[in-house]
Point group: C2
Chain length 817, copies 2
Amino acid sequence: MHTDAPLTTLTTLTDAETQGLDAHWRALNYLSACQLYLRDNPLLTEPLRPEHIKPRLLGHWGTVPGLGLVYTHLNRLVRARGRDALCVWGPGHGAAAVLAGAWLEGTYGELEPDRSRDAAGMLRLFRDFSQPGGVPSHTAPGVPGSIQEGGELGYSLAHAYGAAFDNPDLLVCAVVGDGEAETGPLAASWHADKFLDPVHDGAVLPVLHLNGYKIANPTVLSRIPEDELDALLRGYGHEPLYVTATPGSDPADVHRAMAAAFDGALDRIERYQREAREGGKEAREGAGPRRPWPMVVLRAPKGWTGPHEVDGKQIEDTWRAHQIPVSGVREDPEKLGELERWLRSYRPEELFDDDGRPREHVLECVPEGDRRLGASPHANGGRLLRELPLPALEEHAVPVEAHGRGTHEPTRALGGLLRELMSATEGRRDFRLFGPDETDSNHLQDVYDATPRTWQARQLEGDEHLGPHGRVLEVLSEHLCQGWLEGYLLTGRHGLFASYEAFAHVVDSMAGQHVKWLHSAREVAWRRPVASLNYLLTSHAWRQDHNGFSHQDPGFIDHVMNKSPEVVRVYLPPDTNTLLAVADHVLRTRDTVNVVVAGKQPCFDWLGLEEARAHCARGLGVWDWAGTERHGQEPDVVLACAGDVPTQETLAASALLREHLPGLSVRVVNVVDIARLMPLTAHPHGLPDAEFDAVFTRDRPVVFAYHGYPWLIHRLAYRRAGGSATGPLHVRGYREMGTTTTPFDMVVRNDLDRYRLVMDVIDRTPGLATRATAVRQRMEDMRTRHRSWIREHGTDMPEVAGWTWSGPEEESGATHT
Amino acid sequence: MHTDAPLTTLTTLTDAETQGLDAHWRALNYLSACQLYLRDNPLLTEPLRPEHIKPRLLGHWGTVPGLGLVYTHLNRLVRARGRDALCVWGPGHGAAAVLAGAWLEGTYGELEPDRSRDAAGMLRLFRDFSQPGGVPSHTAPGVPGSIQEGGELGYSLAHAYGAAFDNPDLLVCAVVGDGEAETGPLAASWHADKFLDPVHDGAVLPVLHLNGYKIANPTVLSRIPEDELDALLRGYGHEPLYVTATPGSDPADVHRAMAAAFDGALDRIERYQREAREGGKEAREGAGPRRPWPMVVLRAPKGWTGPHEVDGKQIEDTWRAHQIPVSGVREDPEKLGELERWLRSYRPEELFDDDGRPREHVLECVPEGDRRLGASPHANGGRLLRELPLPALEEHAVPVEAHGRGTHEPTRALGGLLRELMSATEGRRDFRLFGPDETDSNHLQDVYDATPRTWQARQLEGDEHLGPHGRVLEVLSEHLCQGWLEGYLLTGRHGLFASYEAFAHVVDSMAGQHVKWLHSAREVAWRRPVASLNYLLTSHAWRQDHNGFSHQDPGFIDHVMNKSPEVVRVYLPPDTNTLLAVADHVLRTRDTVNVVVAGKQPCFDWLGLEEARAHCARGLGVWDWAGTERHGQEPDVVLACAGDVPTQETLAASALLREHLPGLSVRVVNVVDIARLMPLTAHPHGLPDAEFDAVFTRDRPVVFAYHGYPWLIHRLAYRRAGGSATGPLHVRGYREMGTTTTPFDMVVRNDLDRYRLVMDVIDRTPGLATRATAVRQRMEDMRTRHRSWIREHGTDMPEVAGWTWSGPEEESGATHT
């Protein structure tokens, strides 16, 4: 930690300033409380009557006054310092405060004309809130200035860091609820300060909002001793600045304390950034000592300024303030009176004129134009998004003289492409690679030739590929990688998250929420498209030779495919060039979540670049060079495959069939984009039935070798002619038969191996079972031979380990160009 | 924080003791290193030759020496203090050290006779390690003394706390890797000390193992300033005790420092426990000040004692020591020599006799019998498991005079059952309820009549249901809940995890790993069955009236159903009594993961207790009282349902059909245990085809209303006669059409409503489409009426909100008993 003398900031607010801030805050509280209750009489121009109250009271009050206080003071700070700022609102159910802020500053009405800054717009604001088909009580995509919904808690700080990366002039305030602070992702996020570059990144200002309670419980951080909390926050690398309010506090004192804390934080941030950016070489290169970033601890009552006691029970400053503080107001005149007293305590007549327009002094602290929190282009990142300068694939493609002749590591070639993309974006800094300590392990390390891993903590002699200004973010937390990337994308940049396939499940929930965000954002007219969230899942289930069972799980695909079809895409490129073509495609897409599954181990090069591009564009296709079908006739059987390992086994099976059953007409189909299997009515990438039937036939046996859980293919194709299991589609895939073992043993254990596929063809092709008993026995014998070989040698048998493809074209002397 | 004068512990080891400890540690290191390399010559009785080396070197060295040091010193501590201890080994790929420890103390050989404590057993230990079909390099279920595999990182500390709860005499050491310390779940786990009761729980002793590197990267906690780290750990509520070793450290010094740190920690733990347990009333009731629990920070080089430099690159104390430190040893004589020098540096001849048996001084620190770490019954919890004293359901069942006459909140009745179960286990303390701040929200709060929420942090006047000795664990982290429960179950106790349905996805990955653990544990002969992991998913997708889209996700079922069928079970009880019957069942099961999905809102009581029990036992059944089929004839159509909301809509559809199409013969089928839909070959609960056909018919239209994503039903039933979508099975379910809205609007948006189901029947029953156009139009009109009603009133229309079931039996005057 640092021993610099702390900056002491003298913030002296004039009484008028304090009153202006208080008016703004009271207006936010008034507008928020009314959102919970009112369907009429928005300005309380007449006494409150039951018919002014919504029939069903749904909404949340607890966190709102604290969020309002931050909104007010962030306004002041932005105005006073001439700063671009963005706020990530962490606490759940805080939308009422943020909507109130956006309405008050005018942004809501500019984006949604029926939310105009007058009595009519105010009433619309109140009526729609938390009502059927209306506006959610979370800061969903329809809320101006929001980049996270916060319905699922824990991601605010990670999102804030993601927004701050490569935005050197931006201040990102992150209000962290003390409820969400108990979650794992949030707890890990505190260490993100070791990855924030004071030179190229903006600042993150966490505001830990200790209001003491969750739904029905105290919070941990509000109940530990103050010195323990202080040690914790300093241990995270922060210098905490404290603001404390109790139910009885004089608001003017609180405003002065908040203003001083925010000014103090900004002074520290500006000093740190200035030193890093303008200082000597040492500071510029980031080798100077890491400073503690300031943060604010706001201890303020849950449900502050609301009813203190109802029915003899304390509400304010308890968990009972979480939702509706006074209920039964339509039925009970006393309760109605209580509500009216509460609402009038904000003195709405001082805040709004007769037409419902905010009076001048209420808006004194509000910034202008795009500086308003609800108008920040960073919070509507599509406004800032630029096309990526994607490299020409020709320079990264691997040469393919003949189908399947050579082998390459797909992800290594992608690493080359990423290296060039990093170089091309060096000045723009709008592309980053994210991953949990696996860039090398996933064979993407060529990217380090262009940029190192970001690292602001101590460096030691011998460290490799670490630097203060790097754009590869590595931390052993999939949650942080995902949260950072989401924040980065939603503020208008591009990225790729490379992960071990199995551990993508760590972020299932976050991925699902991001899909929901994109799904909802598509329905918000003023939200501009953002770059897609791209996953590269590698080190996949079939090649966990020494990691074993715990590292074998292809189910992330299933999780994603359950989500909104407008948003989700899954690609399984079978080789290096196809991976490059898929990567090039997904990096150009907008508003989707793309999952790309590809191996890092040497893989046969099935397709040349042009073929790969065409194959990727079609999403699936017949590989006529790999089958034996005769032109113009339907084949006897279709061998279909998706994924690199299944493709290899399928081609090996095709070769075995050619050798052992030369009369059989075999078609080989490879699927890259699995949504093509769905009907067009179910997914925008779905193939029309006629095209599907043209590829898979309507009635010939289809033996499908698939990378993941086999039933997913049935689920996608069940509406097709041959889709049911009693029909001709037969799928092999991963069936949780995993362990520490060799690649070929894995496919044998899961019945996905070439010999089993041949047996499946024999079993399912009419008339073949009796004709081909000897071939079938031979296949069974090979599986037996494998099992004894591996027991004895611990390796795969030579005929498998050394297998190479030789297709009919080689046999007939044809060459591939 | 506390200001007690710190305990200063004077640990003086004699030279002989130090030498004994060092011999044990050297033996562990030798045995570990040999596991990576050797297939022969285990005692190095002859010069190392290439044929002694495994053909494929797979394994990990980096973390092993540090884990070995902990194993050695935990042995000493257990022996010196007469303590029961368990160790949770957090760092990944540490199994070699733990297997070495178990082999050395003899437990491995007792459990697996071919791992005997002689040269033959030693060779078996070496050969099987990290080889195909052999022993994983993670501490998988086959590793004695292990309760977590650690293949996926981040759960060690949570598991340790779970093991310590209600085990007052147990010391649980948790080695936390500095890699896993970056994960969210681990970061959140540090705060678990606010939930540990010094009276009824055991102690957790975290050992933060700072070896500095992950796979290819430095770790954050090893690179922050020491005072920052110290503040962080104190902020977590710990008193850290430091042990530091560098590549050049004299092992004797390190042993003395480790012994002093462990003794110091135990002194503190014993003082704290003694004061809490034997002190005055204040301390006994837990109202005394929370003390900081001690922890050890072990800073020691990655790959310590291994080769310092290979090929001019530093290995020891860098990330390069992560896997195999010297490779190419079979091919390169120099490398082979390097390996031999390394292995001989442990002086095996001093450690083992000619038969490979450990010499006496090596075993001096090893405890006896069940005190040995690999023999702890706590690590094989089934040895300690007792049947739960489950209450009679009769006292909690709701009276059902006629099917569907009344309504109850299912989870509230379950809360009563849990209350009684908590009371019945008050002395035994072997049952706990886990949840993220939602026990009240999920309507389970009656449990608080028996036991409060555990809380060791500060209490304030007005707090409710908080207490230092409670057995309800609430923290806003699904990760912690899951990790604690796993640790609790694997050490032989029982529990239930109640969560909002949508946020179960937060623990997808942990749940998947636990299924894998149970799957693998079934294959380990000496592992005794443990209590199943039970989820109650409530506050489900259909009733998120004010939480909206972010809280709507039924996909946890799909995730779980992808996993090993021997382990996974999913139940969808349609009403209160069925929920009780299901809960009673799952709490009796062993070695499975049970997912129970049930609502908390008032729900029709369809079944009396005896009916519910029978229905639950069958898993699905025809509700003849709800349909109109004529005895002995196949019905015209089958209405099937699974889940409480779909059941209600299905019964309403049945009533509409009875009213509008009285001639139609309708069968109603309800499914509780969805695995019944699978073939018996695919899941142990699968229904034989003939029974399936007897229920669903082979060819009549089946309109299936399902709680979750509809395609799951197709995936389960696709092998059935009518399983494909082109066949007669038609499924309605949740299709991501969510928002903040009313219950009935949710089902309309997702086409699961009663009117749509009737339309489906009309559309899919041969001949009906033309006969019933007017009825169909009427249904369409009702859906239109709903949409305008909700727009106008914000509520559900009266004919839906006030709907009650009246079955044919009422009409015919039959009564239900």
